[in-house]
Structures are given as C-alpha cells and as structure tokens.
Amino acid sequence: MIIAERKPLEDIKQMIAQYKKILLVGCGTCVTVCWAGGEKEVGILASQLRLAFRRDGGELETLEATVERQCEKEMVEELKDKIQQVEAVLSLGCGAGVQTIADRFEETPVYPALNTKFVGMPEREGLWIENCGACGDCFLDRTGGICPIVRCAKGLLNGPCGGTNKGKCEVDPEKDCAWTLIYRRLEKQGRLDLMRKYYPPRNFQAVVRPGKIEAQRV
C-alpha cells in the first residue's frame, strides 16, 4: 500500500494563498487507510485551512469530496461539477491521484496536500513502515521474505555489513538490522546456505522511467 503524509500547513497555505475558493479532494483507497487523505482528513484540513485564512484576516471557501480511487480517470470524473465552482483543487491523494485530476481537468490548477512517501505496511494503529522499494526486480526469494534493499540502511545485497550491534543497525540503532532478521528467518527455514551465495550489485540506472507495464489481454 502507498503511504503518504500531509505536507506542513505552511507549504499548503502558500500554494493556495491566492485563491478564495478551493476544492479538497480525498481518496478512498491507500491514503484513507494510512490516515492521510480520507474523508476525515479532508474535513480536518478544510477546517484548518479556513481557520488559518481567517487567522490571517482573509476568508477561504472550501468544497470537499472524496473519490474511491483518485488514480482512476473515470472515478475523478464525478468531481466535474464541483471543480467548475472553484479556482483550484487541493488533492489529498498520492502523486498518482494528483496527476490524474490534473490530467482530466487541465484548466484548473491542482496542488498536492500530501507527500507520497513509500510502499509499506501498518505495524500497529497509526504507524507505518516502509518495506518495499518498488525496485522492479524482486529479491525476496533469497532473503526469507525480508527486503534488504529498503530495510537495510545501506541497501546491501550481501549482508550483514559488520556494523550490526546486537541485532540493531549501526546507522540507526533504533532499527533492526535487516540482515540479522534475514539470518534468523533463513535459519528457521533451514535455508542458511542462501547466505553463502554472492549476489552482484544491481544496476538501478538501467531501470527505465517512467515504468510501464502492459498486461496480456484477458
């Protein structure tokens, strides 16, 4: 799931400073789940912006909407009527959502209210951890299902680095050493032999941007 986080209010305020009436658009998928851009957060941000404008002696009018998935053209279509009433759109979707709205409604400026951070999972309520780097060449078969590319601070494919300290990372002692976790996991599965193998460095420059996937016809 895509994990995002709200931008500081100051940044958002600056983006929309010149407008009197805006539409805030939430997304009902990933960012709802990570508490960054669902209907609740849209309401809170709208309220906070109105208050902030008032604090500065101005007044801001807001409309609110939350669509099922902002990254779908068809789904942002339903914003049409509302967008006609406003000067700008503030999207609480991930980067894909912002761009979908911007593509569909080219005349209206669309601003991001969130920073899209990473692909991750919830550890407990309110805490999300990055565990996939979307590198395009999955390595998890060799590491017991633990990704060293994001979860090792150094992104090592042949770990651990030697800086491991009682299972913690030398770069950030708060974090677990990914390669210690990998060792433990493989040990449980009796697959420690995988650790002996050497893996050549990956060439991330060879990754083609923008990525593109075409599925076979169903």
């Binding site: 208050l51 008032r54 002696g57």
Partner: protein, 141 residues
C-alpha cells in the same frame, strides 16, 4: 480591563455522559454556580470526540474548547479518555500550525459525583480563556 466592554469568552465543553454531564447535574443540585457561557455538548464517551469537532467549534466562534472526561483509569470504555487526550494533542498541534495558542484546547477530568470539582474546573477554564483573550479565529464581523 480597560477596554470597557468585558470579554465574555465562549467555551465549548464536550461532556462525557458518564462523568462531566452527571457532575454538572450534581453541581446543579448543590446550587453551585459556574459560568453560563460554557456550552455543554454531551457525548457518550470522551473517545467520541473527533479532532474535526474541535476545529469546527473554533470555526463557529468558540474561544476555547475542553473535553471533560472521566479520570484516567475510570473510563467506561477503558481508553476513551486516553483517545480524547490524543485528539486534544492533535488539535493543539493543528492550532499551533495556524499560529494560535494551543492552550485553547484542553482535556480535564472529573468524577460523576464531584459537582464542586466540575464548577471549579469551569471557573478555571473561564479564567484561562479570559487571560488568552478572544479567539483570533472568530468570524470577522
């Protein structure tokens, strides 16, 4: 004050029906007066209050917001008061982002049978908001 017109703060108090609402009743029965400009919104548990409710109270012109909850360890829903406290902290932070004194939102506790404490808390809240002055978030006239 020298301004002539006395500032009468408007305070929104979210009152848990298990504690503050009953404490207010107790204060009434004991005829203990407290400021009348405290608007009591009753709620089933402090945990029902959403950050949005707090912000909207300010939008509507409140000078201060308080959640009056059960004492820590006495919540009928175990953690409702702790949740409320978290939301008060978030509302504090959101207000500070706007440039408003976060002290305008707070959480206080009282027991259902403690009418005198309820009245005392109301007086303290009024005093505090009076000190902070009118909310800069009030609608412009």
């Amino acid at each position: 004050m020298t301004t002539g017109v006395e500032f009468l703060p408007c305070i929104v108090a979210f009152c848990c029906v298990h504690s503050a609402y009953q404490a207010a009743d107790a204060a009434g029965r004991m005829r203990i007066p407290y400021p009348e400009n405290i608007i009591m919104v009753h709620i089933p548990c402090a945990g029902r209050v959403d950050t949005l409710h707090i912000l909207r109270a300010f939008e509507n012109g409140a000078d201060g917001v308080v959640i009056l909850a059960c004492h820590e360890g006495a919540c009928h829903h175990i953690l409702g008061n702790i949740r409320a406290k978290e939301r008060v902290e978030r509302a504090n932070a959101l207000l500070r982002e706007i440039g408003v004194d976060g002290r305008r939102v707070e959480m206080r506790t009282c027991a259902p049978n403690d009418g005198s404490r309820f009245a005392r808390v109301c007086h303290e809240l009024e005093e505090k908001i009076k000190e902070l002055g009118p909310s800069p978030l009030r609608k412009h006239a």
